[in-house]
């Protein structure tokens, strides 16, 4: 039987089966994409004259990286950086402390339904709101300064850490947790002995990662007046002082790199 099919197949072309089986869906998707791209490109107005002028400025900016100016606004940069670091550290600590109970509450396997829903709502809200938007509102409410930035970053950290922590708790090893429960432990003892040892390494890793993110974010909060290095950076762009801007960007890049390196080491150690 198979040889007859072989005869039938010999001499016929072979074509790779398409990823999307139905031809209608396939052509509709391709056509839709093309139409979208045409419309999208047409709706973008590019002033090429302005762009070509800008290229000269862009080149000046890039060459500024060769001679960054750390000194002429040295105190501004230093104060801004210190403020960024302070916001980062404080908000990460507070974020972790608050996200632990919320993370426990957002894990379906240990929290009762009402608590679960409340915690999940907090998580969803915090994740859906962009940091900058939160920062704007906080600045409007609490006034300019690092407090607004600190609250913003703490709020953002809560969403991030709680969600990942909850997911981690949801797929931990049930047998270990059950064994502790079987000893007749109280709820807190159960969390302490059955859950905590399992999620701790990952929590530490995630916290380090969040520290890194918070620092990066703290660098932009200044743009809306929420403290940190961003304000200094904004000013230097406004005044076309590219060498100062380059210096600030270099500092940010090196800090992020070293933070990443550090967190890599710590994560490798705890896991």
């Amino acid at each position: 039987m198979s040889s007859s099919t072989l005869e039938a197949k010999l001499g016929t072309q072979w074509r790779k089966p398409h990823f999307i089986k139905s031809p209608y869906t396939r052509y509709a998707l391709i056509g839709g994409t093309i139409i979208y791209l045409v419309f999208a490109f047409n709706s973008i107005e590019v002033n090429w004259l302005r762009v070509s002028e800008g290229l000269v400025r862009g080149w000046r900016f890039i060459s500024a990286f060769a001679s960054p100016d750390f000194l002429s606004h040295g105190t501004d940069i230093r104060d801004g950086m210190i403020e960024s670091v302070i916001m980062t550290v404080a908000s990460t600590v507070v974020g972790i402390l608050i996200s632990i109970p919320i993370g426990l509450g957002a894990a379906r396997n240990i929290a009762p339904l009402p608590i679960y829903l409340v915690c999940r709502t907090i998580v969803a809200l915090s994740r859906a709101l962009n940091e900058i938007i939160v920062a704007i509102l906080m600045v409007a409410i609490f006034g300019f300064g690092p407090l607004a930035g600190f609250i913003t970053l703490s709020f953002a950290s809560i969403g991030f850490l709680s969600k990942l922590l909850a997911e981690d708790i949801e797929d931990l090893d049930r047998a270990q947790a059950e064994a502790i429960k079987a000893t007749g432990s109280s709820w807190l003892q159960w969390i302490n002995y059955g859950i905590q040892p399992q999620v701790m390494p990952r929590l530490i890793g995630l916290s380090m990662y969040r520290l890194d993110i918070n620092f990066r974010e703290s660098a932009v909060l200044g743009l809306v007046g929420a403290g940190g290095i961003g304000a200094t950076l904004n000013t230097s762009f406004d005044r076309y002082e590219y060498d100062t801007a380059a210096a600030i960007l270099l500092i940010i890049i090196t800090t992020v790199m070293s933070l990443e390196y550090l967190s890599g080491i710590i994560r490798a150690k705890v896991q």
Binding site: S2, T5, L6, K9, T12, W14, R15, K16
Partner: protein, 259 residues
């Protein structure tokens, strides 16, 4: 004819995988390479088509020294050597047909292969081979949908579509169950017979090797320990290759099964 002359491989870690190995494989001969893990069997096979770069020595295929070839000449030489792998090494997310046709990559240009427009003769040959290994119906399945034995058949078809002079077979049955192992070994040996192919088969299952091949080479710590027909494989020899163990059971069991 394949000829290895003083083939030596020392890894960067200092491990001596091959120590001046001399070996000749005449045209059309199927040879089984046995020996404990770490004896250098895999390295030997991979040095032949230079997936592993030998440290010194020569590999002569039909009189041509493969070790001295430049990269494009090496690719042409590799077309003459089909390889079958331990864990099948199919490209899992490609279809069975693409996997088989990938054996022709050395013969077609980049754009043809990129657009999957292989010559009709290649496509026909792929269909014939798939039919021969019993997987014609599976041509449009993705490779990761197949069972282990089926995957290895695709691997065999991929090696054979190159129309090679020599098959390099690396532990073809290591991840298969005993029954499938035999079927695969039988298939490889039959195909070698049909196409008058020479083959080097790495295999750790001594009984299986004895069952199917005319010549067995034993290796230990990068050196050849034994070279002869399967019935010369006595407990003494096995002790020399693998170390002290009661080998009688292994050998007698095979004799019973062969009869």
């Amino acid at each position: 004819m394949l000829k290895l002359e003083k083939l030596t491989k020392t890894y960067a870690t200092g491990d001596k995988a091959l120590c001046a190995v001399d070996l000749e494989v005449p045209n059309g001969q199927v040879l089984a390479l046995i020996g404990p893990s770490g004896a250098g069997k895999s390295t030997l096979i991979r040095c032949v088509n230079r997936l592993v770069e030998p440290t010194s020595g020569k590999v002569l295929l039909g009189g041509e020294d493969i070790t001295s070839l430049g990269s494009s000449a090496l690719r042409r030489a590799r077309r003459n050597m089909g390889m079958i792998f331990q864990e099948y090494a199919l490209v899992e997310r490609l279809t069975v047909m693409e996997n088989v046709l990938s054996g022709r990559l050395g013969f077609v240009g980049f754009w043809r292969s990129f657009l999957r427009k292989f010559p009709q003769s290649d496509v026909d040959e792929a269909f014939r081979l798939l039919d021969r290994v019993g997987l014609l119906e599976m041509a449009n399945k993705r490779a990761d949908e197949l069972s282990g034995g089926q995957r290895q058949r695709v691997g065999i078809a991929r090696a054979l579509i190159q129309n090679p002079e020599l098959l390099l077979v690396d532990e073809p049955t290591a991840s298969l169950d005993p029954k499938t192992s035999r079927q695969i070994m039988r298939l490889i040996c039959e195909l070698c017979e049909e196409r008058k192919l020479a083959a080097i088969i790495n295999i750790h299952d001594v009984a299986l090797a004895q069952m199917f091949v005319q010549r067995i080479v034993g290796m230990k710590k990068g050196e050849l320990q034994f070279d002869g027909s399967p019935d010369l494989l006595t407990p003494d020899v096995l002790t020399r290759i693998y170390g002290e163990e009661d080998w009688k059971a292994t050998i007698t069991k095979v004799e019973e099964e062969v009869e």
